[in-house]
Symmetry: C2
Subunit: 148 residues, 2 copies
Amino acid sequence: MDDVDCMLLTELQQDATQAYAALGKAVGLSAGAAHERVRKLREQGVIRRTTVDVDPAAVGRGVAAYVLVEANAWMGDEPVCAALEALPEVVEAHVIAGPASLLVKVRTATTEELQAALRRLFAIDGVTGTQTIVVLESFFERPVNAGA
Amino acid sequence: MDDVDCMLLTELQQDATQAYAALGKAVGLSAGAAHERVRKLREQGVIRRTTVDVDPAAVGRGVAAYVLVEANAWMGDEPVCAALEALPEVVEAHVIAGPASLLVKVRTATTEELQAALRRLFAIDGVTGTQTIVVLESFFERPVNAGA
DNA sequence: CGTGAAATCGTCATGAA
DNA sequence: TTCATGACGATTTCACG
């Protein structure tokens, strides 16, 4: 993980469809060398996968909210994780240190669906309360920058 | 945006490196037809870009935190957005309806760096307070699913 | 890490349903 | 319109220097 690898990651985050020749030129390497670097980054798990960034609003996920989930038991466990993952509206779930046990991110098409999702969160064993933070506007959501 | 497009999006989110032939087979289409569909999804902005998913811990961003930012003025404005975007540790910024004006996601290498980032958030004009939620463990962070 | 060759894939034209 | 087929050009990929 040197500076060249960082530049490769930045380039790939911006556009993973570009050819290795262009990628190599951007970081001062040949196509073959760039390819080999990227292959190793994948192997090491630094690059987890290549994916597409989908506009949430275009697929019926235009409403976003963060939900602080309070629970009466320790929830850093496997069954809770599975219960959350079973809800398609839940796109993130974190165990936190703070005013609640968990923080989950929910994405739905409408506020009615958001309400339905909250009901389903309540139904999970051990959940005693929720506090919902509705997102009005997202300034930006960007990938982690390796540099700086 | 029919069912086939949804399946294409799901496939591409899982692995955007696969060949159009494989992609087409997965959704019951020829390579050429799959290619044309994906081209249109890009054109329409449903697919914003193709990127790589980078392991945060591998690039010195292993510590995550959500910060509720309170302000004494309306902050849904351009200068605030720019000030936040100038901080490389800030990976997300949202205007919210809830107990604060903004919710920002911060990623750093260590808790010391997190502290430094909080100091810089305080320094932004109009910010009167912050409440920090440290992430202890992330169950999952997954892309929006077009289906369901 | 660069170069070159071989295999594979993306891309586009044509034609059909 | 939308899709399958086939051919061409570009790219990935690997062996060698």
